[in-house]
């Protein structure tokens, strides 16, 4: 809880929609998109440690129960990881004994409707839609579909690299019964 301010969460609603983006260059937009696609590919391929290298020290990874008006202080989420808890999540996956992901689910996701908003010279808010197909290889072998919306906050570090420090995943079916979700959305 101590790694994210109320402001960060409050300002994360409907990211990028309606942002005029004065001066956002095509190159910046392309860079952000490449970042998102890389992040998606590493998550799809369960390359947890490489995925973690895209994450900044004040990261908050949040999966509320859908798109509603949820408050971290008053409502239970599906996932609400500060940086420390996220690190432990990845350590647990890396033990190779996390049964819910042994073997890891084969997965592929599509990102689309990407909107980028520059909120400070080196900081961006990004929103997009996604659909993830997951094969539940460790139990029922069913193909599970996870549709929803992602919201990111991304900054450029002093070395020029992009890192994300906030990721919110709003599942279309977040308030209905969900199967085990031990991978990274």
């Amino acid at each position: 809880m101590n790694t994210i301010s109320r402001d960060t969460i409050a300002s994360s609603g409907n990211t990028a929609a309606g942002c005029g983006n004065p001066g956002l260059s095509m190159q910046e937009r392309q860079e952000i998109e490449q970042f998102l696609y890389k992040e998606a590919r590493l998550a799809d391929e369960s390359r947890y440690s490489e995925w973690e290298s895209l994450v900044d020290d004040d990261m908050y990874y949040w999966i509320p129960r859908g798109e509603g008006d949820f408050d971290l202080k008053r409502h239970v989420s599906i996932t609400a990881d500060n940086r420390n808890r996220l690190a432990n999540r990845i350590k647990q996956l890396n033990t190779g004994l996390r049964h819910a992901q042994v073997p890891p689910s084969p997965m592929r996701r599509m990102l689309s409707n990407i909107e980028v908003c520059r909120e400070q010279p080196d900081q961006y808010q990004v929103g997009c839609n996604f659909v993830l197909y997951e094969l539940r290889a460790q139990s029922t072998n069913h193909l599970e579909i996870w549709p929803g919306r992602m919201e990111y906050r991304i900054r450029r570090k002093s070395d020029g690299e992009l890192k994300m420090f906030f990721k919110k995943v709003m599942l279309v079916h977040g308030d209905t019964p969900l199967s085990s979700l031990a991978f990274i959305l």
Partner: protein
């Protein structure tokens, strides 16, 4: 969102299955998890004729507040009427069977069916029929179907459709103090279940949920990845059988618990925090209950107990089991927020809840997958499931049986009550 694999549904008739043969003292037959006929019998004998947990009063604080739930497969509405009493009705219009209420929760002055406009009061009475001249029957014969009895204990609402059921008090039996132990962690003696519910789907039989939730034997194996990464209050990390002080308890009537408090020496070991981090909550407890009583409550912590058939007091969570079919169930959980506790303490409970329970949690995600693998393995030629562990060392006194944390005493308690209920054809 594919649903789980279903066997074909059989009609609602008593099956004639010989439950005494399938449920033995030291083993139970695998077909009890896979047969849709067994499932139908369970819906009738356990969920329709027995007491079932429906919801908590704090979920519907004001007159007109309602929520949709189910009792077995029966969709129900739980609503607070104008006088403040909690009512439970079948969620089904008495005219043509339309689902009256399709929202998960809300607030209403009355329930009006979207099909032909029949209107029911918050007490379930049919109060309005559009074009009344054409309907000759007595409206009072069309009040909403309702459980024969609805009773509340410390905010927990239970219902049964059986007019001849034992009282709720008798049903709770030795498990009643477990509810007290949970609720008394509130400085005001009341729970606030307002944080919402996370629902986890299991492609597995519902009975695997209460079984696994009171199984003290699996932690070292199912949760080995958790134990390697996280500091844990559980003593599973101690490999040696004799070193483990936690116990399992069978309270009778299908109620059973894991009792880790045998190993706790100081307050909040169950929460995994030191006392100074939660001093403001401790102060509230001391002012409500006095120094000595508060200290004992804060050392023992909350119960970890299943109340037959569908309520689990899961430490700082309230959990319920929803059967869907022989091969599918849903586990619901909500953080057990405490009235009168500091907001920061309740937020801590929410964060702990996300770590332990739900589809992405560090514990339950793995439990669910193991249950699903059990279900898959039982699809073929079902064999016997072994539950004899600890039969020679458990100790029974005054109707309560206690044994080593790794013993299947809790599972035997569940199944012996199950057999008794299921034999009442």
């Amino acid at each position: 969102m594919e649903s789980c694999p279903h066997s074909p549904q059989s009609p609602v008739v008593a099956s004639g299955i010989d439950y005494a043969a399938l449920v033995q003292k030291d083993r139970v037959h695998g077909s009890l998890y896979t047969s849709e006929e067994v499932f139908r019998d369970e819906m009738e004998r356990i969920f329709y004729r027995g007491w079932v947990f429906v919801g908590h009063e704090s979920e519907i604080p004001s007159a007109g507040d309602y929520l949709s739930r189910s009792i077995g497969l029966e969709p129900v509405i739980m609503v607070r009427n104008r006088q403040g009493r909690v009512n439970v009705f079948s969620n089904r219009c008495m005219h043509r069977g339309n689902k009256l209420c399709s929202r998960a929760k809300g607030s209403a002055r009355a329930f009006t069916c979207d099909y032909h406009g029949w209107t029911f009061s918050l007490d379930g009475e049919l109060v309005g029929v559009p074009y009344p001249k054409g309907f000759q029957k007595d409206k009072s014969d069309f009040n909403l179907n309702r459980p024969a009895r609805v009773e509340t204990y410390r905010g927990f609402v239970f219902a049964t459709f059986n007019p001849d059921a034992i009282t709720l008090d008798e049903h709770l039996g030795h498990a009643k103090p477990l509810i007290d132990r949970a609720v008394d962690l509130s400085p005001e003696g009341g729970l606030d279940l307002s944080a919402g519910w996370v629902k986890q789907r299991y492609c597995a039989n519902w009975k695997m949920l209460p079984e696994n939730d009171t199984d003290g034997y699996h932690a070292n194996f199912v949760h080995s990845s958790f134990l390697r990464v996280f500091r844990s209050q559980y003593d599973a990390i101690l490999g040696d059988e004799d070193a483990r002080q936690s116990r399992v308890v069978d309270f009778g009537l299908g109620h059973a618990a894991i009792e880790p408090s045998y190993m706790y020496r100081k307050p909040f070991e169950w929460l995994g925090v030191s006392e100074d981090r939660v001093a403001d909550y401790t102060a509230c407890m001391v002012s409500s209950y006095g120094e000595e009583a508060a200290r004992k409550m804060l050392i023992d912590g909350p119960p970890h107990a299943v109340i037959f058939p569908n309520l689990f007091l899961g430490e700082m969570n309230i959990v319920m089991f929803q059967p869907i079919s022989a091969g599918e169930a849903v586990q619901w959980h909500t953080p057990m927020l405490l009235k009168g506790a500091p907001d920061s303490f309740n937020t801590r409970i929410i964060r702990q809840s996300e770590a332990a329970l739900g589809p992405s949690a560090f514990l339950l995600a793995d439990d669910a997958v193991i249950s699903e693998r059990q279900q898959l393995a039982l699809q073929g030629h079902s064999e016997w499931m072994e539950i004899s562990r600890g039969l020679d060392r458990e100790v029974t006194r005054d109707g309560v049986t206690i044994s080593h944390i790794s013993d299947e005493t809790t599972n035997r308690g569940f199944w012996s009550h199950y057999r008794k209920v299921m034999e009442q054809a």
